[in-house]
Amino acid sequence: MNLTRRLLLTLCVVAIAGCASGPKFSEMQSKMPTLKASEGRIYVYRDSAFGAAMVPAVLVNGQEAGRSMANSFFYIDRPPGEYKVSATTEVERSVSLVLAAGESKFVKSSIGFGLFAGRPNFELVNEAAGRAALQSLSYSGK
């Protein structure tokens, strides 16, 4: 096997390793606990395979809540308040948001271009678009 083939094979393995293999949102939905009245829910999802090899940890107010994996999502329930969702590769990027009781917030993560490695990006998405995007994604939460 020449060097190019080995390199391609390695890239494929790394990319596949960065893809989530959990149950789809449609399968998960019925198993997901009902949101408590005193809490809100933050969904974090990544609906692109670009930069699949980059799987940064996603922190919510400094605590690891999951990983930003290609074509995957996870969620975290938290009391109302201010939250910073962040991830770090060669730089740290974050989104700051406020969460109300009974509210669901949707954070779309992606990987952009960087100097040496892809950089994480976050944007907020409205509920309708967020739920639509989740349908085809796999659960990567704990």
Binding site: S94, V95, S96, V98, K105, E123
Partner: protein, 172 residues
Amino acid sequence: MQSINLYDSSDTLAASVADGCDAQPLVIAASKKTQLNQILERFMRHPFIEVVAIVWVGLLCAGCAPEIGRTAIPYVQNNGTKEVIQLTQSTTVPNYSGAGTTLFIGTRWDHVGEVAHGKVYRSKDSVFFLRGANTHEAYLVVKGKKLVGFYLPGDKAWSVLEPSLDIEFGVN
């Protein structure tokens, strides 16, 4: 006593390390160095290399938006009557997200509070955010018919918009 000798002649690149014993010199063949140089030179002379470099630097710069300026500010929540405004004209806010952020005609905004600079309105139909180096959920701060800045609830901070913008809306 340890001595390190590095030398580069036209034919060989060699490093020898002697620590008082009979150390063997490590020699890297000059042909390999020449090959590497040739590959590198050929690569640098490739007609597309400048285009690739420009695109790469451009993409890199696109990811280097400055952070949004903000200062902490007291916020008073509106617990009274919820006034809703509806934009009657689209407005593009420059200096955010590089290309600007557009507040679209027809979008509705709830009056949710006050800051010292004006009334605070949260998007009723969607979620509004500003993106610099990082992303911030944002509410509009309106004084009269002027958009004067943004309240960033996740940061409990105020971000001024200079110059302020005229904003056209009706009250529902």
